[in-house]
Symmetry: C2
Subunit: 361 residues, 2 copies
């Protein structure tokens, strides 16, 4: 999790309204603007600011540039019974991913589980958003994608995989869903940027210099390390799993072949793949037994003894606590993003979102 | 991977014959003896000696003791279309897991994917064996289980999850399957035992003392750390995924509730769960496109620049190379295991397997 450094606070509804208006002005149809906004709102609420409304200026730019098709014609090509391929027609990534997960959930009704691979999509956003969509409907959800090359292999000395996230969400009875949303790199690149700003050393084994050697100096970082430190073959293997499901199973671009997110080319579609899966617990076991089992498991986990000064949490606990605070106090927007909002507002003739507590923008 | 320290060499066929005979004498029916032998042979060939024929004396003992039912009545309780629940009747773990994966593969024919959750099973063996069984049939295979409590949580100070493995295997065109078989702990416990024997320090962040503090002293280790070091919440989250699929989705025992593998109680069934899933690439994309995509991906991966003195490998490459050497030179059996083989042979009136190259036992 990368916290926005400082920043002013805004209501979720004001940011969402601004986001939808900006994306519509950039050329997005209503489902695309809604889906992109929903994914950014998810991330901004849960404290994953790297994938929150900070991305709005980028998403508007790539629709204007033509890289992303703001009015895609999504086509599901049904495969065998419980699987489908979605050709997303170069849609905004959240538009494709939510639609794919919705279909996976539909398939998991009669079949017990369902999987949808996605062709011709773009930047995925927070993978956990789509896994969570399944969990909120009562299903176990899994979402994965690859992304442009940024992480070395185990014992590797050049960028190969992207940060290739894996996300899983599980309905947890009375509590909020169990939610694991993890990059398969040791750290996200945003952590490097944050530590540059703070002048702090990175933890050992998290990033490498241009020769693939470990470095704790955030200014020397040329690539990220796979999760696992001395056991980085595990992190690289998990990145490979995301890569195979997203790119090989769809015939889309491998991480090293994906055009850089930041451009300069913002007009050529990135031809990315992704993958989602949904599973219905009630197809295996009585739903009530599953729900009470999750409650019992999470109760035992949260009661497990912590190291002195530490806290034991279930996946998602930190994020749900953050969301609660942000739902109360507003969502922070960092100054750079706020400046970019001002530019968008001017370009499209929109009002900037109102700051909380002041009535002022 | 934990190499057997020294040890004599035996042919795979001699060890397999001895294993089947010993398990049959202990009370296993033919399918159980075959499945357990197949899983141990898999591990011994690929260099995963912790799960190889070293386990034969244990497996024989728990069948004799009654913990494991050597003549189980496996019952598939069909759930929704593409999923099933297998009640394994306290079968040997490999017997249940191979049967479950076989059914998952059958389901993935018409449905594109299939999943089987397993109730009332026992020690899983090498998870990769079952994932590989799917890959050898042309399917993507996933296998997971939980196991007795041995790994602390992130910031935890007591044992909670087991080493809860996740294994995935993917058919790789002309080459051997891509094969990731990983404990979700930083290291396996056998590594600790090995380093005790060698008098070597453990890598940092891999294991903890009784207070949950990191220790590199293998003699001070009371629990293992989750994969990820400072980012151990990811390893603990992956362990949780294995736990949920294995124990919660089946209503079986959570890791802290599982009777210890080593006894002293060897008569009470351990009531463990496990989970397997198979996916048919051809349900998503043309099989030939998938195969050539895997070849292209693995070619790019293996050509990725290595750090000085390092080697970049795909998951499974090290294991397949080890298997090639062992198929040529024989499988090593460590002295303690060999002594246990002698006891088994005497108890059941069997000949001990012949050593390679000498004609002598």
């Amino acid at each position: 999790m990368v916290a926005a450094p400082g920043g002013l606070r805004f209501s979720a509804s004001a940011l969402a309204a601004f986001s939808r208006a900006a994306l519509a002005a950039a050329g997005a149809d209503e489902p695309s603007a809604d889906a992109a906004t929903r994914s950014m709102l998810h991330a901004s609420r849960l404290g994953i600011d790297s994938h929150g409304f900070r991305l709005l200026p980028h998403y508007a730019r790539v629709i204007e540039g033509g890289r992303v098709n703001g009015r895609p014609n999504l086509r599901f090509q049904t495969g065998a019974g419980a699987v489908a391929m979605l050709d997303a027609d170069h849609a905004q990534g959240a538009r494709a991913a939510y639609a794919a997960m919705e279909r996976a959930v539909e398939l998991a009704g009669p079949f017990g589980l369902g999987a949808v691979a996605i062709r011709n999509t773009s930047h995925f956003g927070a993978a956990g958003a789509y896994a969570l969509a399944a969990a909120e409907a009562g299903f176990i959800g899994l979402a994965a994608c690859n992304s442009d090359s940024f992480v070395r292999l185990h014992e590797g000395a050049e960028r190969f995989h992207g940060t290739n996230p894996l996300a899983v969400a599980v309905p947890a009875g009375a509590g909020r869903p169990w939610l694991l949303d993890m990059a398969t790199s040791a750290i996200p690149y945003n952590r490097v940027l944050l530590y540059r700003g703070l002048g702090r050393d990175l933890p050992p084994g998290a990033a490498s210099d241009g020769a693939g050697r470990d470095t704790c100096d955030p200014f020397a970082v040329e690539m990220l390390a796979p999760l696992g430190g001395s056991f980085g073959f595990k992190g690289a293997g998990l990145a490979g799993l995301a890569e195979i499901l997203s790119a090989v199973l769809t015939g889309m671009r491998l991480s090293p072949e994906i055009l850089p997110m930041g451009g300069p080319d913002l007009s050529t579609p990135r031809e990315m793949g992704a993958f989602v899966l949904a599973m219905r617990p009630g197809a295996f076991i009585d739903e009530a037994v599953f729900r009470s089992g999750m409650e019992r498991y999470l109760g035992a986990l949260r009661a497990s003894r912590a190291v002195e000064g530490g806290t034991v949490l279930a996946p998602g606990d930190r994020e749900w606590a953050e969301a609660e605070g942000r739902d109360r106090d507003g969502l922070p927007i960092d100054p750079d993003t706020l400046a970019a909002f001002g530019e968008i507002a001017a370009r499209f003739g929109l009002g900037v979102p109102e700051r909380l507590g002041t009535g002022a923008p």
